[in-house]
């Protein structure tokens, strides 16, 4: 739909602003450039975390010491967890695709507070830097796991404080992004874009924004309490000082469970866009999709205790948390049914992003069902802190959020870069990735069920075969990942020029040129139709 006039506008990539070179990026307040800043930093940290993962899997290929000591292994899973959770999957979809697309999808020129947006990127970089500094200073890296559980976090000689403070600063970045998106959605929708005319991706960002704004401060204050306890010896959590270690778990999970919905909601939003576009059909049950996003965000606040079933909580609390946990599965299931119904009788176009969406549904379902197994009290006692939990959350976080991230990458790549990628290589990469993924993490369900605990560098001989298979899976997964990333980078140079609407999407971002001009729209569009108006 790009008219001659649109083409004359310089794209955000060509635009000559006030600054040159690298400064035109790190001082830019353009939401699209900030999105790319996030994209490249997140990819760098993801590569770091993934390398740690690869090494840990290598250690586990045989019992006993293989390539690293127990202490190193502990430090590795701690850093791996902190990076992957706080620096990759929490900001992943909102900060990259949310930043790039939210304003365009609701017909705005930018987010409500562009400078605050840039500031949150700086907080993000500072937070990760602090975490990295903790590795090389003081008396050795932290070894508590990403959960920093008391009282061990007070006993370890590992360098806790910078890591905890880093997570605190990362929290600020998340809060600012959430606030920015909430205000943008409330105040900057194009004329005619009523709430119920908004596409699903912005809707899920809206639900996520509330979680970021209201749950993140809890972890902030908790991390500050650890710092106060460590430096000023105020007894909050350490029993030796009169504190209560279970209080720490309550506070930690009061944030960290809602945080898993920060990870998954925008992923569900992106998947909804992809499925509607490639089925060429209106999203089935749009209103229910919106309502279930809000319901997930809301109920997600009240289920944190399912991480603490073996902690010695009161049994009243155990029953309540188990019940609430089962409730939260309902809105997630509604979404899956609606995605399937959207495809029903659609004219499906089998392109790479659609394959990613199918992969998403597959692994997300397995992850979700295993969540229910963990959510029932009796089975949880057996499975808690085993490889089963590891499998559950990798299926849902790496499988769910990770698949949605790559799906979104392949869906919006033409829009963001103005280039098409080579879909044959993209599909080969996806195939290897999915195969490796299932071998790597699927085996862990079995290992965990048989009783192999998590967070140990060693294991009993009876788990050997399973671990060999799982480690080999990791190699397949990484080769797939390599192909995917190399293909996307190579296509930046060699890819064909992307038209403004390569997939036949109906949402607003497909009505502007690829890549979009600096101000997105020549004229702010007036919205008259719903977001997925096919036929």
């Amino acid at each position: 739909m790009s008219t001659q006039k649109d083409i004359e506008e310089p794209s955000y990539l060509d635009y000559k602003g006030k600054y040159r070179g690298i400064f035109s990026w790190i001082l830019s307040t353009d939401h699209k450039r900030i999105a790319l800043l996030y994209l490249f930093s997140i990819l760098a940290f993801f590569a770091t975390g993934a390398t740690l993962g690869l090494l840990m899997k290598f250690e586990l290929i045989a019992p006993g010491k293989t390539i690293m000591t127990a202490q190193t292994y502990n430090a590795f899973f701690t850093l791996h967890g902190i990076i992957m959770i706080f620096a990759v999957v929490i900001p992943g979809l909102p900060a990259v695709f949310g930043n790039f697309l939210l304003p365009i999808m609701i017909g705005a020129k930018d987010v409500a507070f562009p400078r605050l947006n840039l500031l949150s990127w700086y907080f993000y970089v500072m937070g990760v830097s602090l975490v990295l500094i903790s590795q090389f200073t003081g008396q050795g890296p932290p070894d508590t796991g990403w959960t920093f559980y008391a009282p061990y976090s007070f006993r370890t000689t590992g360098n806790m404080l910078p890591a905890v403070f880093g997570a605190f600063v990362l929290g600020f970045s998340s809060i600012l992004t959430g606030l920015n998106f909430l205000v943008t959605i409330h105040r900057m929708r194009a004329p005619g874009m009523k709430w119920l005319k908004m596409p699903l991706f912005p809707w899920t960002l809206y639900a996520t924004g509330w979680i970021q704004l209201l749950a993140t401060p809890i972890i902030g204050i908790t991390l500050l309490m650890i710092i106060a306890e460590k430096t000023l010896h105020i007894g909050f959590f350490d029993p030796a000082l009169g504190g209560d270690p279970i209080l720490y778990q309550h506070l930690f999970w009061t944030y960290s469970h809602p945080a898993v919905y920060i990870m998954i909601l925008p992923a569900m939003g992106a998947i909804s866009e992809i499925i509607s576009t490639f089925s060429h059909k209106t999203l089935f049950g749009y209103n229910f999709m919106v309502a279930s996003s809000l319901a997930i965000a809301f109920v997600g606040y009240f289920v944190w205790g399912h991480h603490m079933f073996t902690s010695g909580m009161s049994s009243t609390a155990l029953y309540a948390f188990s019940l609430l946990t089962f409730l939260v599965a309902i809105p997630s299931a509604i979404k899956v049914f609606n995605w399937i119904a959207t495809m029903h009788k659609g004219s499906i176009d089998l392109q790479t992003p659609f394959y990613w969406a199918m992969g998403f549904i597959f692994v997300f379902m397995i992850g979700g069902f295993s969540g229910l197994i963990l959510g029932s009290l009796a089975t949880n006692i057996h499975l808690h802190n085993t490889h089963f939990v590891l499998a559950h959350f990798h299926f849902i976080v790496f499988g769910g959020t990770g698949f949605a991230f790559f799906g979104a990458m392949h869906y919006w790549y033409p829009k963001m870069t103005g280039k098409m990628y080579d879909s044959r290589w993209a599909n080969i990469g996806l195939f290897l990735f999915l195969t490796g993924f299932i071998v790597l993490y699927g085996t862990m369900f079995y290992l965990g069920y048989k009783g192999m605990p998590r967070r140990y560098y060693d294991y009993d001989e009876i788990f050997h075969t399973g671990n060999i298979i799982s480690t080999m899976g990791s190699w397949v997964l990484y080769s797939g990942l390599g192909i995917i990333i190399i293909n996307l980078f190579a296509s930046l140079k060699s890819g064909a020029k992307a038209p403004s609407n390569p997939w036949g999407g109906k949402t607003l971002e497909w009505s502007v040129p690829s890549p979009p001009p600096v101000e997105n729209f020549k004229e702010i569009p007036v919205v008259t139709k719903g977001p997925y108006s096919y036929k």
Partner: protein
């Protein structure tokens, strides 16, 4: 919809501010005094109630919530209710151990 530009500026007389300040100080002294009397679990409840009254004053008068768009009050009340729910659920554990 009211926009930021056409909202009226409310000028609150100094006297009101001073009254509120005095009230806040009295309430602070009350909660400090109460910690000296042993009331069991009620101690925390009362301290929280007093703190809630104080923050209501600060929010409504000093932070002008009283004169703002209703939306803000609704959002605030929603958040407070959420916080209450979270605390109640946590107490399911603490009061039944």
């Amino acid at each position: 919809m009211k926009t930021i530009e056409n909202e009226k500026n409310h000028i609150i007389p100094y006297k009101t501010f001073l009254f509120v300040l005095a009230g806040l100080i009295v309430l602070t002294l009350t909660s400090v005094t109460l910690t000296r009397i042993s009331l069991g679990t009620l101690t925390v409840t009362i301290a929280l109630i007093i703190a809630a009254i104080k923050s209501t004053f600060v929010l409504r008068i000093f932070m002008h919530l009283k004169f703002e768009n209703k939306m803000f009050s609704i959002a605030l009340i929603g958040v407070v209710l959420l916080l209450c729910a979270v605390i109640t659920i946590t107490l399911l554990d603490y009061l039944n151990r």
